[in-house]
């Protein structure tokens, strides 16, 4: 438990992705089985202790001290698990529990046993160990590590491509003894044949205008404005995976119901426009967002925002691995597969007619009006290869929207940028006042960052911890993919993918955009 606690403690404070990877890889290499396997399960959200509830922790915490001291402490610290960990008065010399002990015991523990178990373990741990234990058992570590990052670190730890790990990930179970044995060279690669495991996606490079491409070599299709998914059905099991390889099946029973086949497809998850049932087009991305990041889904949600898939590609037809075939051949297999399967909620992504570069550019120019995210250009002879391979697939996104906004607040960055004011909140005019409409921390060069940092320091009017309010006089041309209504922001607007397009040192703040101009882009 001590090593796991030290790892979590370090991760919480580490902003840099590379440093997180180092810490994780170091832990996976040094820690014996099955502790490292349980740690991996905790980090990837694969652990659940149904009988351990936050309420029990609260009760334990209150017994540690009187109510006044508890209230003052909780008020000061602001987090229940942390307050409890710090307040805990150790009774006797209990031995520190191992991570595997904790997990294996707690998984089998009945509701009435949990309290006594946790209390005994807390006695054997120091403050960091207690904090980690409480985070572990109440779920949701919230330490800025995604399941995907944990798998990347695992690959780094054992010099193995993350794609290889992802291929077998959904066929192995905590504490992952077989996985670690294979990674350490002491066992065979776990066999995933016959299981609906995740297969790493093939990804595209962004395309700036490239008229040197010969359209004859390429298949052109829409880049739909949803989320990329993989539909895997094998041996009677069905799974829906996100781009990061997370299993999102539980949130999309409607899609799962449509997967009455045996194979693996690559496609775009979209939501039907229930406001306009006659339309063949999906609802805007905002509607899909209602369905994302949910563990379960209500009937009302299913009816109001029904999901479907537009299929781009086929990876497996039954047990046959088609990834080595050229795209043109896969495309024919896909057309036959979708036609033969015949479910209305799995559509085929249409190929667009673009015989020359002008017609490609004309389609790209139409993307925004049609609600598409842009175009995909894929080489006809490309095999399906994991990751982003140069020269095979390109995405040409619709042109961004832009607005001129005024810098209002600047915040210090993290890690390498901790001495720079690098996160900018900007606003537009509503009447005579500025209202914040977004925040961006990239889109500028290092040299521009140094200039901006200096400007912020010289034009500060107020400080709030790491945040500075500045004089309202510097204009940014902000580029963003789209804008949506949002009740979470004072302006009522939220930008998607905002970035600093240009710094308008020349432009007077009064000439920045008004809120009405942004509302018109909704």
């Amino acid at each position: 438990m001590k090593a796991f606690a030290a790892l979590l403690d370090r991760l919480v404070y580490t902003p840099s992705r590379n440093a997180k990877l180092r810490l994780l890889a170091d832990y996976f290499r040094r820690t014996p089985d099955p502790d490292r396997g349980w740690a991996l399960a905790a980090l990837t959200g694969s652990l659940d202790f149904p009988n351990a509830k936050a309420g029990a922790i609260r009760e334990l915490a209150r017994e540690q001290t009187d109510e006044v001291l508890f209230a003052l402490s909780y008020d000061y610290v602001g987090d229940l698990a942390e307050t409890t960990a710090l307040l805990w008065q150790t009774q006797g010399d209990a031995e520190a529990p191992g991570l595997a002990d904790v997990v294996e015991t707690l998984r089998q523990a009945g509701r009435t046993e949990v309290r006594g178990l946790v209390s005994g373990w807390l006695d054997g741990l120091d403050a960091t160990g207690r904090w980690a234990l409480l985070k572990l058992i109440t779920g949701g570590l919230r330490i800025g590590v995604s399941a995907r990052l944990a798998r990347v670190a695992l690959g780094q730890a054992f010099d193995t491509a993350v794609e290889e790990i992802e291929e077998i990930w959904h066929a192995v179970d905590p504490p992952y003894g077989a996985l670690f044995a294979w990674l350490a060279g002491d066992g065979d690669k776990p066999d995933v044949a016959g299981r609906p495991t995740f297969r790493p996606f093939m990804l595209a490079h962004p395309l700036e205008e490239r008229t040197d491409l010969d359209p004859a070599d390429w298949l052109v299709e829409w880049k739909w404005d949803g989320i990329r998914v993989q539909l895997a059905a094998r041996g009677g099991e069905r799974r829906l995976y996100s781009r990061t390889g997370d299993d999102i099946s539980a949130a999309f029973p409607d899609v799962l119901a449509a997967m009455d086949f045996d194979g693996v497809l690559d496609g775009e998850l979209l939501v039907r426009d229930t406001a306009d049932p006659a339309s063949a087009d999906p609802a805007a991305f905002n509607a899909l967002q209602q369905r994302l990041n949910r563990k379960t889904v209500s009937k009302k949600m299913l009816a109001g925002h029904p999901a479907y898939v537009v299929a781009y590609d086929i990876l497996f037809d039954g047990a046959a691995d088609l990834r080595g075939l050229p795209l043109e051949q896969r495309r024919r297999r896909l057309e036959a597969f979708v036609a033969g399967h015949g479910h209305p909620d799995i559509e085929l992504s249409a190929l667009l007619d673009a015989p020359d570069w002008e017609s490609v550019a004309a389609l790209q120019a139409e993307a925004r009006r049609l609600g598409r995210e842009g175009l995909m250009l894929k080489r006809r002879d490309s095999r399906y290869e994991p990751g982003r391979k140069t020269g095979l697939w390109f995405k040409w996104k619709r042109d961004p929207l832009t607005a001129d906004a005024v810098l209002m607040y600047a915040q210090r960055g993290h890690g390498k940028r901790s001495s720079f004011y690098s996160d900018y909140t900007f606003g537009v005019w509503r009447g005579g006042e500025l209202v914040p409409v977004g925040k961006a921390y990239f889109g500028f060069t290092d040299a521009e960052l140094a200039q901006l940092d200096k400007w912020v320091r010289n034009h500060t009017v107020n400080r709030f911890g790491p945040v500075r309010e500045v004089e309202k006089r510097l204009v940014f041309e902000v580029a963003f993919d789209s804008i949506h209504a949002s009740s979470r922001h004072k302006s009522g607007l939220a930008m998607r993918f905002p970035r600093i397009g240009r710094i308008r040192w020349d432009k007077p703040a009064e000439e920045a955009d008004r809120i009405e101009a942004l509302e018109a882009m909704l």
């Binding site: 987090d79 710090l86 307040l87 890690g415 790491p466």
Partner: protein, 337 residues
Amino acid sequence: MAGLRPEDWLKATERGLWCAPADLYIDPVRAVERAVVTHGHADHARPGNGRVLATPETLAIMRARYGDAAARQAQPLAYGETLDLGAVTVRLVPAGHVLGSAQVVLEHAGQRIVVSGDYKRRRDPTCPAFEPVACDVFVTEATFALPVFRHPDDAGEIASLLASVALFPERAHLVGAYGLGKAQRTIRLIREAGWDRPLYLHGALQALCDLYEAHGIDLGPLEPAAGRDRAAFAGEIVLAPPGSLSDRWSRRLPDPVTAMASGWMRVRQRAKQRGVELPLIISDHADWDELTATLQEVGAPEVWVTHGREEALVHWAAGRGIRARALSLIGREDEDD
């Protein structure tokens, strides 16, 4: 003198605690004619006073910081020596906070009041340990007076620093440490852990490190951080005042791991607010257990609680039959400890 109450001869005033029969201010916040200074931190030792009574070490620190403004007339009083000021006897006793830090023991009309100044109870290789003195009134600090503050063993904190240096050999480790006391204690602890390479210092730390060395505290090889190649800092440990951690000064270091040695690092939110990547919980103030143990040890029936989280300690004391009250003194801040 029947009926004399302690608050009749030691009073909280705008200038600080004032011992009326000796016309003596303790750690005054504004210039006065006669002061006693518990220790050299800037919120306790201020320049411009007339006659200043303090340990020789504290006077040396004040001279290093303020030059001639340290005092018109410095009056050294070594630990354990007594001085009569009219009807009041003054004695200084080690407080274990930083080099030269003292509790002020005041005796008058058969009553004894001890003003702790800032103190801690655990071992510090850079100053003598706190000595409890039985008294009628104990005036205590309360910087970390919440039961969530239980400082861990400092050797463990240094071990985590050295483990991080081993894990990230291409990065510098930048340790923020208050310039008086914390920096030197942290350096000593790093030495005790076996690190004998040079440590690199922000310019602001140099003078006080020299002063500690002149008082016989061996800090090992120290080098200025200024004027050195960025690449030369890879795998090295650099110390700087907390204010310089995320300031432009730190840009000279290669992707530094920012550490900070402070009792506040116990609370995650506080550490994160400071942008600290490696919190080191090393404090020169008593934690909750030390505070409550000290109150029981000195056995004072009455306790006055100054700067910090007075409410919690007053509540605790009241529950144990100790008359306790908060003494609001202005001019004390949460220093970077």
